[in-house]
């Protein structure tokens, strides 16, 4: 009688990659809902478009690589990449920007490196950086001003569709405007902080829409933490580093963007909880995660303050992706029975 012989353990817990990815996707929904509320249907349409592109690109490459397509599509990683890219891109970015960024992310940043788990860089951010560098105009002018700021309705579903797919620029101009981070950065040299905040982009505290979007992503991120899908290390160290930089280097609101704007504007919370925490490209040791997150926070501040771009989550994350393997090697935890942790990777050295 031949029995089934498998290696131990013979039992398995309830964790599944596909479920983890689906939870991540669900956790972004409050943010997406708030974005749609404040900025119209652009983000939603872009997100759906990005997801479809991501799944299609993934399926195509899996087929080319002769991998079982449905088995791997069901891991939901492509879904999350598309989703995050859709959320990160300007709400009224033309469709081809979304399609280009997403397909590049999946095909080049993910599959060419070997597919899920093997990509050294965050695919969504590679796609984002590609279109940001290649098409700076489309990437900076298609941000929407919230209805509270403009006083008029945001782009309705059909408006958004026509802008995104037909490039109806005249209609677009009615809805778009600079983001708060952008505006503050370029106007602070001419105006005082108080004057600036009276401008309708800011419209006082908690009124521009961006604060609510960030708070929604924060809520989603906390949900992921409670579900133990992400740990506190990266978001906390990233936000703390950003905050400390802002307090020490940019304490003068009349010269630099204030802390509140850094934390609650742009892609800060989306970046801290959903993008920097991508496990594949991030550092994995507890100490390493702290260093990795802090690095992103510092780079984010530096680029936002002295760089050419108003926001910098993509660049900060990609730069730290480079450093992650190195950080991991030097931040191994102390193992049971050892007096001190190992440092670095010295091939040939025996333990």
């Amino acid at each position: 009688m031949a029995l089934l012989t498998l290696s131990s353990p013979h039992t398995h817990g309830p964790n599944r990659t596909s479920r983890i990815m689906l939870t991540v996707a669900l956790a972004t929904l409050p943010g997406l809902a708030v974005m749609t509320w404040f900025f119209g249907f652009g983000s939603l349409i872009n997100t759906v478009l990005a997801i479809i592109t991501a799944l299609a690109s993934e399926a195509l490459v899996l087929k080319l690589r002769k991998y079982p397509v449905s088995f791997f599509l069901k891991d939901n990683t492509a879904l999350v990449t598309g989703l995050l890219l859709g959320l990160a891109l300007p709400p009224l970015a033309p469709w081809w920007i979304t399609v280009l960024a997403t397909s590049f992310a999946i095909i080049f940043a993910k599959q060419i490196y070997g597919g899920m788990g093997n990509n050294p860089f965050n695919p969504a951010m590679v796609g984002y950086a590609l279109v940001l560098i290649s098409f700076p105009v489309q990437m900076t002018t298609n941000w929407v001003t919230s209805f509270q700021v403009s006083g008029s309705d945001v782009a309705g579903f059909t408006d958004a569709l026509s802008i995104i797919f037909a490039g109806a620029s005249s209609t677009a101009d009615a809805f778009t405007g600079a983001t708060p981070l952008d505006q503050y950065k370029y106007l602070i040299s001419k105006e005082t902080s108080d004057e600036l905040l009276q401008r309708n982009t800011f419209n006082g505290w908690l009124n521009g829409g961006w604060e609510w979007v960030n708070l929604a992503f924060l809520a989603g991120g906390l949900f992921l933490m409670v579900r133990r899908i992400i740990t506190w290390h990266i978001p906390v160290s990233m936000l703390a580093a950003l905050g400390i930089c802002s307090l020490i280097l940019g304490w003068d609101e009349d010269l630099y963007t204030p802390l509140s704007l850094h934390l609650l504007s742009g892609a800060t919370m989306l970046g801290a909880f959903f993008i920097a925490t991508d496990p594949v490209s991030a550092s994995t040791t507890p100490t390493g995660k702290l260093i990795y997150g802090a690095g992103i926070g510092i780079l984010l501040y530096v680029i936002r303050t002295w760089g050419a771009y108003p926001d910098a989550v993509a660049f900060a994350v990609l730069l730290m992706n480079f450093a992650a393997p190195f950080i991991d090697a030097y931040t191994q935890p102390r193992s049971y029975g050892h007096s001190k942790p190992k440092r670095g990777l010295k091939p040939g050295e025996k333990s």
Binding site: M1, A2, L3, L4, T5, L6, S7, S8, P9, H10, T11, H12, G13, N15, R16, T17, R19, I20, F71, F72, D75, T77, G115, M116, G117, N118, I229, T231, P279, V280, A282, T284, T285, D328, Q332, P333, R334, S335, Y336, G337, H338, S339, K342, L345, K346, P347, G348, E349, K350, S351
Partner: protein, 741 residues
Amino acid sequence: MTHLIQLHEFDGGIHPPENKRQSNSRPIRKASLPSELVLPLHQHIGAPANPVVAVGDTVLKGQVIAEPEGFVSAPLHAPTSGKISAIEARQVPHASGLSETCIVIEPDGEDTWIEHQGLCDALGLDHCDDIPVDKLLERIRDCGIAGMGGAGFPTAVKLHTGKHKIDTLILNGAECEPYITADDMLMREHASEVIRGAQILLQILGAERCLIGVEDNKPEAIAALDDALVQHNEEHHIDVVTIPTKYPSGGEKQLIQILTGKEVPSGGIPASLGIVCQNVGTAAAIADAVDFGRPLISRITTVTGDAVRDKGNWEVLLGTPVSHLLSLSGYRPAKRERVVMGGPMMGFALPTTELPVVKTTNCLLAPTEKELPTNNPAMACIRCGLCAEACPADLLPQQLYWFSKAQEFDKAEQHNLFDCIECGACSYVCPSEIPLVQYYRFSKGAIREERAAAEKAEQARIRYEARIDRQEREKAEKEAKRKARAEAAAKAQSVKKEAPAAKAVPAAEPAANADLEKLQKQLAAAQAAVAKTKEKLEAAREDPEKADKIPAFESALAKTQDKIKTLAKDIAAAKKAAKSAPAAAGPDKGDPNSPERLQKKWETAAARLETARKRLADAEVDGADTVDALRAGVEKQEARVAEAKSAYEASLNSDASLKTAVSNNAGTDNTSAETVAAKPDAEQLQKKLLAQKDRVEKAKERLEMARAEGLDSVEALEKALNKQLDKLAAFEAQASTTGEV
């Protein structure tokens, strides 16, 4: 509990469904006698036991059927009375699926005990509290007790703590693996034995306190132990400590950490912390052995899983086939049939149910596919880090996985792969369902193999370098010899040409001179070799990397220096001989074929054969890998001895004629008389010359062969060839002189 024990927490760990209720709701039952008992000789860590019974022997229950082999080993006893029906290789319950020697007993159904009694009675002591420790240890060893928690380490060996002073005994009653309830039921029903075992262990170890760690999901067991403590009046030394349920709190290292906050050093043993850890089942077995003289012949085993109808615990005789126990429990084979020996986390799946229960079999788990689904195909690692959070050893399982997969073993080792206890927590939490533990086992195996190979290679390197040194030395010596020979031949030629009339006397003189020169050349070469070796030795002393070669160089140096001494002596002797040569050139001086020399040669060859044989025997005992080479060497040497012997005998036969030839050689002026006798001698010499040429050819061939195969005998063969060449030269010289006469 009488003391307040500060509990500590170990990092990581998981909470899989416990699934213990199925099997701990009914008392332990006694399994019936099967039709045969199969007892593997190797149920413990260490050397397999040695059978002391023969097929057909009748044995009684508790009789020793196999003795321990060496220190780390354990004896084996007959679990019931009956007949030894076979001693043969059978498949044993081991992850390797290998077969090992087993003693098979056919029970007679009587279950008759051999005479046995408690140690106290056996020693005739009045007070059973002061049995000497060595007697206790002897009893534990004699009763075949080995760790019953899982590893099966011989208990008496574990209790020899050497220089370590033990202050704490820990009894492991955590039983953290899901499904298993064998220790739970044992503690409930045999609490008194467990406490008694603890008392004995405390006495042996001289420890002050004992902590019995039990997970809080076994309240009945804890209550039973507490009652037993009161009965034994041991509340002051022994504490039953309730620990939180978390897998793998029953791992020895983890339990020590929970109860004492100390960590067993990597690669070390708990004794270095003053701690000894034993399973509660082992403690109960010790009590049985010491108080009643009952050896370890049965154990409590949980049979559970949805594929058995009647889940529960059995007191089962060692050697009982798994199939017997399963059928007692109402086993119905399920789809994708699996039977796991041990728990679902660390147990191993049996290849067949025709395997015996052994000393470490705490559970048989027969799950259905629905109950414990087999893993889906593994997906890619997304480095989510859940495994690192679950790891009780604080490793980075995901990194170890990547390194194992890429076969970067040095990096895996550098990430403390060998601190992995294979608990399976990482695999359990892995969302991609990667069989992580399997990867680690693979890496560990590969690294162990690599280490063994590296050690072998290092030894080979040392051997090789020693050989190269020796060969260089010999080459120099040989070169010197050859030159001396060539010069001698040239001189002989010139002497012959210059003074064809001055027949024999001058012929003998150059021979003596040539000898002398040869020796002087050899001396020079040896001196050069000494200088070279000294230089090398200096270099080695300065260079720490070559430090391991110093002894080799030193011995080489000593040898060469010895050689110089002998050479100096020889030279002195040769000089004397050369002086007296014209007067009395000894009959055997220049002739290597004299019977005396041949006899000597034969004797040396025989002596050498002796040493070679000895060396071969040593190598065979050590199991060295040089055995083959040595064996070939011995055979060659045997051939050489035979040859030397026949040469000697041949020389004896031709002695008479040879003597005349020799005397002719050594003769002074009576040439005309010699000529007559020289004629037949010349013919014989011609024959001999041809034979010698043949022999040289053969020796050359043999040497070539030995060189090609890199045999150790090259050295000896070279010497042999040189001798043969010398002989040939001598013959030629002889032949030319006689021929001209």
